[in-house]
Amino acid sequence: MKEISGYYDKEASLLSAVKSLRDNNIKIKDVFSPYPVHGLDHAMGLRRSWLPRAAFIGGAVGAISGFGFQAWVFTRAYPINIGGKPLMAVPSFIPVTFECAILFAAFAIVLSYLFKSHLGAGADNKIYDERATDDRFVVVLDTADIDNNEAEKIKSKFEDSGAMDVKYQD
């Protein structure tokens, strides 16, 4: 037996279930819900995502390379008098620098997100219940190394917390 999953139709019962499972030191593999449930990440004890850092790094890289490229073009690669402006025309470089920063930051975070979450065109992730994207909440437990007894206990825990259904999976 590899996984046990509990099915809920209410956000409140889901949250209490997750809380009680965690109180009982049962490791939750994942929870599936049709929308981001407020407070679920706290309840599950998920750590804050590092994704914003990707955006920050992306933005910094974008800004520096954007500015550096412009400065290089104007002062090194092909210095040319345009409208009498200084070659190092810093105010002129700001817009492109800014756009590069935003573009790089946005792509850095989105690509990291997709990569980290194994999301992508044609990705084939396991779906526990098709209604999990509609109005069902699914709690999946990693039970690879527990025996039947314990599994029964878990099942009752699920049912106590208001699960509509509990499934075993091998």
């Binding site: 679920l40 756009e99 979450s117």
Partner: protein, 446 residues
């Protein structure tokens, strides 16, 4: 202490989670109505006319347009700025309103963002085709080449290239990131095998995992944080196209924020136009409620008034500056040969939105629809006034000229309207028009 119930519900009809899914999903599997096909046909043929006109322009030359030695930009850039402006509402709604925790945006952000993307496509078309040498348009990208020439980073038009393409890409990504969970919902509900496959592909393997949701929220919020200044920057840079110049009526420092608020103003108007039609034809009255419309109308008053203040400021400064050319440019706008354009602009943008101070009018669907079109017209004329009236009589009276659009220019404009509506009709047919997952977070009945 009173309960949180002091806030009115964002959507009506006491929907359950399932109701929401059904309401969004059903139109996608339902057979489209005759009205939809009729709309698609009209929009499609308009797009075709536009494409023909564009091909003709590229082949024969810009001489087919009414622009001339004095007025180098006519309808093309007017339309460009107009479309870019319209393209501001979507990202404004999803980014800035997200940052300001305005939850009511959830009902409208999906379609507003879609509109943004389509509007930016239409907008981006104009700078491309307004080039005399469209086929060499790739010169504007800084790519390495044998001659070692790069682009001119001093040029606002080049900034535009970066701004518009960044804006388009980021908006697209932002939109799509938000779409993924909803596409997952559709995938899971889709019965036909083929369609299921397509939606499976499009939904990127979404499962609804809590970790994904956590990241999803972080990504959405960060993207919003990035998109918010980006929205400002895009129209700011568009305004730089004019404001960096030395042409009286163009060179004025207020342009950046004034263009941005003008853009949001016109964008909201276009969102209203589309949503009022959509809520009626697609039975979304419960999601897009009168409250939503009223809130948007409030933003319209706000941005419209900012635009109005900017007009007045410009007018005052034209006098205060003591620069004769500047003063002339503004007198000429109001009383010169294009006085009618100026007064259409004034009436539509400054005077008529003030009617929204009346709550009754603000909450009237019919009146709002009418006003949304009035504002769209007004904002189009604003750009026309800025571009044409400033150029047609600038410094040397010897070069003063008049500008009259040709049929080809009109056809191209009609064509972009066609492209826009074609895209939008296809969007409402195949994509979830309401951000289901986000709406689901706002209801109490869960």
């Amino acid at each position: 202490m009173s309960e949180i119930s002091t806030r009115e519900p964002l959507i009506e009809g006491n929907k359950s989670l399932k109701d929401i899914t059904d309401d969004v999903f059903n139109p996608i599997i339902a057979k489209p109505g005759k009205l939809w096909f009729l709309g698609l046909m009209i929009a499609g043929s308009a797009a075709l006319i536009g494409i023909i006109a564009i091909v003709l322009t590229i082949w024969k030359g810009i001489g087919l347009w009414g622009v001339n030695k004095t007025i180098g930009w006519g309808w093309s850039i007017t339309n460009f700025v107009w479309w870019v402006g319209i393209g501001h509402a979507g990202t404004f709604i999803s980014a800035i309103l997200l940052l300001f925790r305005q939850k009511w945006r959830t009902s409208i952000n999906r379609s507003a963002e879609a509109m943004t993307i389509f509007a930016v496509i239409c907008a981006g078309l104009f700078p491309l085709i307004h080039m005399g040498r469209f086929l060499l348009g790739f010169f504007i990208f800084p790519y390495p080449n044998t001659r070692d020439v790069w682009v001119n980073f001093n040029s606002p038009l080049l900034w535009d290239v970066f701004a518009i393409s960044t804006y388009f890409l980021v908006s697209l990504v932002f939109w799509y990131v938000g779409l993924i969970p909803d596409l997952g919902t559709i995938r899971d509900r889709m019965k036909t095998k083929f369609k299921k496959k397509i939606y499976k592909f499009l939904s990127f393997g979404w499962t609804g995992s809590a970790k994904h949701w956590q990241r999803f929220e972080v990504v959405s919020f960060t993207l919003a944080g990035l998109a918010a200044p980006l929205v400002l920057s895009v129209h700011t840079i568009v305004s730089f196209d004019f404001a960096t110049s030395v042409i009286p009526g163009w060179h004025t420092t207020i342009f950046p924020p004034y263009f941005v608020s003008g853009a949001i103003f016109s964008g909201f108007a276009m969102v209203l136009t589309l949503l009022i039609i959509a809520r009626k034809t697609m039975n979304l009255q419960d999601y897009i409620t009168v409250n939503h419309i009223e809130l948007m109308n409030k933003i319209i008053i706000l941005t419209g008034s900012i635009v109005g203040v900017a007009y007045m400021t410009e007018l005052f400064m034209a006098w205060y500056s003591g620069v004769e050319y500047e003063l002339f440019a503004f007198i000429n706008r109001a009383t010169g040969p294009y006085w009618w354009a100026y007064w259409i602009m004034m009436t539509c943008n400054v005077i008529s939105p003030q009617l929204f101070w009346f709550k009754k009018l603000r909450r009237s669907i019919g009146f709002t629809f009418f006003m949304s079109i009035v504002i769209n017209i007004g904002m189009w004329f604003e750009r026309f006034v800025i571009i044409v009236t400033s150029l047609h009589r600038d410094y040397l009276p010897s070069s003063w000229e008049m500008y009259k659009p040709t049929l080809v220019e009109v056809a191209i404009f009609v064509g972009t309207l066609g492209i826009f509506f074609t895209c939008f009709l296809l969007f409402v047919r195949f994509f979830p028009v309401i951000a289901m997952a986000e709406v689901k977070t706002t209801i109490k009945n869960k």
